[in-house]
């Protein structure tokens, strides 16, 4: 390779691909700035509404309604204090995290063997079964809200964490099977065969050898299961009343007789962003790779 060949990845920056003509050189100097401008505008568009929420959560209600300022003049943490000291508030977070965790565990436990079956074997009705699973990802939750309510009430699961976790499996399991199948297809079949010849049983092979091989796939599937279970509200609100009420539903508490308590509402909103942000931080290097391999 000569020195004119661009570095890996740099090819997507226009200037590097263009022929090395004199006028192309002058363009080259400006193009990366063009990218920076596009990205800056886009990130500002994404972050300004979130900043505004954060800004409001650090103000008192009098300041929110009385003066208009771009940053809090009298910085206060009172709104956060209200949430973190009142059990009616913080149990909402505990409930949400509980059913999301249960959902991720159940989803992975059933999706892993199924994805293995789809990626390795042909069996009667496999293609139809696969598409039928995907149709559940396409089902509008609104269609299922009422029947779910009746179903879980009749089996005595209404207002429990497991009810919400099972209900979210409706869209998370098909997605997880889809993602994991994509990853498993990338593992050569010879590995399975060698392991069986070496005398491994299926379960031992699956847990000891196969799962470590697709660890990143499991991570991606878990990330998406977490994401869709965490952000969903329609079903989790319909299936709970007190004991398993998610934080997102608790937020309606801020509407009182004296109007909306904007400061606390904003603080509660900011706190719902935190778990997601933490999860993203841990998986940031796998996101792009996961999207590419796992088809989402």
């Amino acid at each position: 390779m000569t020195d004119t060949v661009s570095a890996p990845g740099a090819g997507t920056i226009p200037g590097d691909v263009a022929p090395a003509k004199p006028q192309a050189k002058s363009r080259k100097r400006f193009r990366p700035n063009g990218s920076a401008i596009v990205m800056t505008i886009y990130l500002l568009f994404l972050l300004v509404p979130i900043y505004w929420l954060l800004n409001m959560s650090l103000k008192t209600n009098t300041e929110i309604l009385g003066t208009f300022s771009l940053w809090p003049r009298n910085l206060t943490l009172a709104n956060y204090e209200t949430i973190l000291t009142d059990p009616a508030w913080y149990t909402g977070y505990i409930n949400s995290i509980t059913y999301v965790t249960m959902n991720v565990v159940i989803t992975l436990a059933v999706a892993l063997p199924a994805a293995y079956a789809f990626s390795r074997y042909t069996f009667t009705g496999d293609k139809h079964l696969f598409f039928w699973l995907l149709t559940n990802r396409m089902a509008p939750p609104a269609v299922f809200a009422l029947p779910f309510f009746q179903l879980y009430s009749s089996v005595g699961l209404f207002d429990t964490h497991i009810a919400v976790a099972l209900a979210h499996c409706l869209f998370n399991v098909p997605l997880a099977v889809w993602i994991l199948e994509g990853f498993m297809r990338g593992v050569p079949k010879e590995i399975d065969e060698t392991a069986y010849i070496d005398g491994y049983s299926f379960s031992r092979f699956f847990i000891r050898i196969f799962m470590p091989l697709i660890a990143s796939g499991i991570g991606v599937a878990a990330f998406f299961a977490f994401m869709f279970s965490w952000v969903e509200l329609l079903l989790s609100r319909t299936l709970t009343s007190v004991d398993a009420k998610p934080i997102a539903a608790t937020m309606t508490r801020t509407v009182g007789a004296s109007g909306i308590d904007w400061g606390v509402l904003a603080a509660a909103g900011v706190l719902t962003i935190v778990p997601g942000a933490l999860v993203i931080w841990f998986v940031r290097n796998y996101i792009a790779k996961g999207f590419a391999l796992g088809r989402v």
């Binding site: 997507t12 929420l53 939750p141």
Partner: protein, 289 residues
């Protein structure tokens, strides 16, 4: 290439039982309601296709469906090109690459009602930055009164919420293009547009189909965000299919019509998604050759 093995059914069985419990039973309940009438007291009477005929004849469903189709079309027309644009301009490595990935994923992990809340606050004329700024500029903006403003706000909110998903998918597609392709283009002195049109776009086709499929499905089911933001108003201006359905089923408890509505809603979404899915698997098969 794949082994025929009927025992694989045992591996699929847990999924089958779980999804049957949480999908087939509720769906049968809906089917049940759609052909029966009730006067309360858990007494049901056979109503045949009455509810389907009633819903097909009612303006309410057609209007909601019309709004829904327009909304999904606008969403796809904005988010797909914008997502590609952003993906093409994303930094490739280093701190800024990580920073962009994290910042862009952030809206995806915010609970949907909080997304509604953020924009509800942001757009308010008295306390929101957007509403206040527009008002200060002399624009008559009020999303709770004016249907056009409400529509614009809902669309902007959705673009804010979901464009990153398209961008991340497109970015992943771009990253998988081998460097040799760009070198070949460089030797051929290909223009920037030619590189995009003949290298990047075909290579992104697979992930873009997934993005279109996901964005279509999810925008067609949208409920929480507009419900929090506008409550379907002003009037019925932003009452999309799911909002209308929940209003009917849980608000008015019109079980029969709501069930008939549900089934037709599900069938429409299934039909369109099936078309996308078929195109997608064909693309996959073509790539595999």
């Amino acid at each position: 290439m794949k082994t025929v093995n009927e025992k694989a059914w045992f591996l699929v069985l847990p999924v089958l039982l779980l999804v049957a419990f949480s999908a087939v039973i509720p769906l049968m309940t809906v089917v049940n309601y759609s052909v029966q009438d009730s006067f309360g007291n858990n007494q049901f009477f056979w109503a045949g296709l009455l509810w389907f005929e009633e819903m097909l004849a009612s303006d309410r469903m057609w209007n909601a469906l019309g709004r829904q189709l327009v909304f999904s079309a606008i969403i796809l027309a904005i988010e797909i090109p914008l997502g590609i644009l952003v993906a093409l301009n994303m930094p490739q490595k280093g701190f800024w690459s990580s920073f962009c990935l994290v910042a862009m994923s952030l809206p995806l992990l915010i609970p949907w009602n909080v997304v509604g809340t953020i924009w509800q606050i942001f757009g308010r004329v008295d306390i929101g930055l957007l509403g206040y700024t527009l008002d200060a500029l002399g624009l008559d903006y009020n999303y709770t009164q004016d249907s056009l403003d409400a529509w614009i706000t809902v669309v902007v909110m959705d673009v804010w919420h979901w464009t990153s998903l398209v961008a991340l998918l497109a970015y992943a597609g771009l990253r998988s293009i081998p460097d040799a392709y760009y070198q070949a283009a460089k030797i051929d002195q290909a223009s920037r547009w030619a590189v995009f049109r003949y290298i990047e776009l075909p290579k992104m086709a697979g992930v873009l189909m997934i993005a279109i499929l996901l964005r279509f499905m999810d925008s067609f089911m949208i409920y929480t965000e507009p419900f929090v933001l506008t409550g379907g108003g002003p009037g019925n201006a932003t009452t999309f299919l799911s909002i209308d359905l929940v209003k009917m089923a849980l608000g008015q408890f019109d079980l029969g019509p709501a069930a008939a509505f549900s089934l037709m809603y599900f069938l429409v979404i299934l039909l369109i998604s099936w078309v996308f899915y078929t195109i997608m698997t064909n693309l996959d098969a073509r790539d595999a050759k």
